[in-house]
Amino acid sequence: MSRLSFYLIIALLVIAGAALTVHRHVQFEVPWTPGEQRQVWEIQAEVNFVADGGPAKVNMALPTSQQGFRILTEHTASPGYGLTFLEERGGRRAEWTTREAEGDQQLYYSVQALESPSSRHADVEPPAESNDIVWESPYDTAASQVIERAWSRSADAYSFARQLISDFTDEREGENARLLLTQFDRTPLLVRLLNQADVRARQVSGLMLEDGRRRQRLTSWIQVFDDNEWALFDPRTGEQGKPDNLLLWESVGQAVLEVEGGNNSRVDFSMISRNQPAASAVRSQLVEDTLLNFSIHSLPLEEQALFQTILLIPIGALVVVVLRVIVGIKTSGTFMPVLIALAFIQTSLLTGIVGFLLVVSVGLVIRNYLSYLNLLLVARVSAVIITVIAIISIFSVISYRVGLNAGLTITFFPMIILAWTIERMSILWEEEGPKEVLIQGGGSLLTAVLAYLAMNNPWIRHITFNFLGVQLILMALILLLGNYTGYRLLELRRFKPVTED
């Protein structure tokens, strides 16, 4: 029964850990490898208008995360204006307001959009059907003829839209189309015709992203609904589908920019793209903290750096558990090697090993002398601590004078731990002889090096820092290892003589 609940807990931990990890990968697009590059677009919208002198209110549509793009951070610059972000009519909008504005006004809005192939559209409500479309003569006949022609050559909403738009493109433009275009703008006209044929459609605005372009305008597109699906059509060519570099800026059929208390308003866009490591792109995401999205990234940067190290300790612990339980290596102090490995991360491996050996061996010599002084234990270990500090300072100064700057990193060693290591090894030397010191010291160093290699692996660092669910899986692994009753690797050698006769 207790076994069953044990394995149940293990299974639960693994499932929860895997679910959290996959959730983070899928939902927040945290990549599995640290090296992955993602393209981030910096887009700036500049709103210009001439204010009338009284109160002014500027209302602009804002982009949301959509197929192909994920919105990261956004900033505004609009001195003298109050700013509110609104969620209305299914879209996000920014509203700038001021009591008094005169002359040329400029408002800036910039946004970072991450190219992410797996990002999906949010569900959009199709527009309501409009039944009261009235045409004046002679446009009514022209319109019904155009619709009829396209209708007869189509099967469903999408093919109808395609046919209709192609009748308005240059080469195939018929009499009727030309007549209608004299009175109406192309995109609203097409939407109107589509609606009249009971096809739900609306006009949306998008920005074609091209690196380094300035003073760009939004282009209009037609969104055609078929049941709950929708497709985008280019009103100029009739092509179906969203180009990869099209960012839908306004996608609910509202005006992009509304200005009250001003005129000559327009909005220009400029953009640049840059490559960014996927992990740091993830870091700048605009996300609310929910329980599922429990992430270290919501902490201030300094604490994040701290956690990056803390989250590696379970990896070091796992290495220690494997080496002790599966291999059977003896170390001096169970988790001392993990702390030494953490120091190696700061010092780099070679400097770290040389420094460790130097400090411990010199410490052992001095500790040997201290044992003649007949001191109480606490006082002796304290004396060793001071000795270790002295050794470290002397080595730092010498290596600096000699020009070995790497020697300065020796200060990252945990001094109290080193002092205890020296104390323990010294006692071991007295009681069991130098051989045991070599075995345990070597075992500790080997464990520390392996823990370092594991903890310093960029992929492992990336995974532990970005996927907290992995900690649960590590926990499950360690619990499982704690239940291992098989032989240790070194026992296969130790007990070999028994099998010989």
Binding site: N374, E431, Y487, R488, R493, P497, D501
Partner: protein
């Protein structure tokens, strides 16, 4: 160089992990550990249960009390200073005899009272105790060990380890100190381990540094003739430690005193696995068969069971064959 896990398993060898989880973890209640981890407590407990232990000369519990050490050992011929919570024989200092103000160790090295006081001070500050916690020094009378064993040992007193599982003695060995082990009966330091037949108390097999050995490396005396006198009462003593402590998986360390017979030296809640090497046999089969036994048998019945079921024939060449010629033939 390496054995296959299957080979070890077929011989019933138990590894560290299995011992820790399957036996110590399951049969040894953590709450009972202090009884055996603290030798002073073990000693007092043993006295209450009428189990003989080496005579207690005194204890030192405070650094302040160290200055009474000289008085304490003034009139004693030989004594042993040990940390109450020491492990693996650490911190045990044996003084064989006193010559004036010089304290002579079995190796012949002489110590002064200052050295003794420093040693006691180290013990009190927890140098040898588990986890470095403050400790108490126990001063005991030296054991008058049975001269019949002097040919089998070098300097130190040979002790007998019996692993007791659920009150049943399951395996036994004698540990003979050598020059390599510095007079200590610690197998990993080079003491010779001699597996003992549970039925008769006779030697089965000898090992030093995990390699088979037929004689004592220092005295050269063959091991095959080694037999423990009064074997059954020693097993009874070991088995009764189960009732005394309540620990299911227990290592009992005993010595044979010339005058007082088998004496309990100390108990171990985490007995090592080297006993398997000394016996050339794994513990698994015996532990399994004890696990199938019902609870509630008395000490004599349990010892009967062990003597009947765990009897074995020795692997050592009989003493008369242990002539130099036979040794050469074996070596060739």
């Amino acid at each position: 160089m390496w054995a296959w896990p299957k080979q070890l398993k077929s011989r019933g060898i138990i590894g560290m992990n299995r011992r820790n989880i399957r036996y110590i973890g399951r049969y040894n209640d953590r709450r009972l550990y202090p009884l055996v981890d603290d030798k002073l407590q073990t000693k007092l407990l043993a006295e209450r249960h009428g189990i003989t232990t080496p005579a207690l000369i005194g204890t030192v519990t405070t650094q302040f009390g160290i200055k009474h050490l000289g008085n304490m050992v003034a009139s004693v011929a030989g004594f042993v200073i040990k940390p109450a919570k020491g492990s693996g024989g650490k911190g045990i200092l044996v003084i064989e005899r006193v010559e004036g103000d010089r304290f002579i160790k079995p190796s012949g090295a002489a110590l002064t009272l200052k050295d003794l006081e420093r040693h006691v001070s180290n013990i009190l500050s927890g140098l040898y105790s588990l986890g470095g916690s403050p400790d108490v020094a126990v001063v005991e009378a030296l054991i008058n060990f049975d001269e019949r064993f002097s040919a089998y040992t070098y300097e130190g007193v040979p002790d007998i380890r019996v692993v007791v599982f659920r009150g049943y003695p399951v395996m036994a060995m004698m540990r003979l100190s050598t020059a390599a082990s510095d007079g200590k009966a610690n197998l990993h330091q080079g003491a010779v381990g001699v597996g003992l037949d549970l039925a008769s108390g006779r030697a089965l097999r000898g090992v030093q540094f995990d390699r088979a050995r037929h004689d004592h490396p220092d005295t050269g005396h063959e091991l095959a003739s080694l037999a423990i006198p009064d074997w059954r009462s020693l097993l009874m003593l070991a088995a009764s430690c189960y009732e005394m402590t309540g620990l299911g998986y227990l290592g009992t360390d005993m010595v044979l005193d010339r005058d007082r017979g088998p004496m309990l030296l100390e108990l171990n809640a985490r007995p090592g696995l080297a006993i398997q090497m000394a016996n050339g046999e794994g513990l698994r089969r015996r532990l399994d068969s004890v696990e199938r036994q019902a609870d509630g048998l008395d000490v004599a019945a349990r010892v009967d069971f062990a003597q009947r079921h765990f009897a074995r024939r020795g692997e050592l060449p009989p003493p008369e064959d242990a002539s130099p010629l036979a040794g050469m033939a074996a070596g060739a």
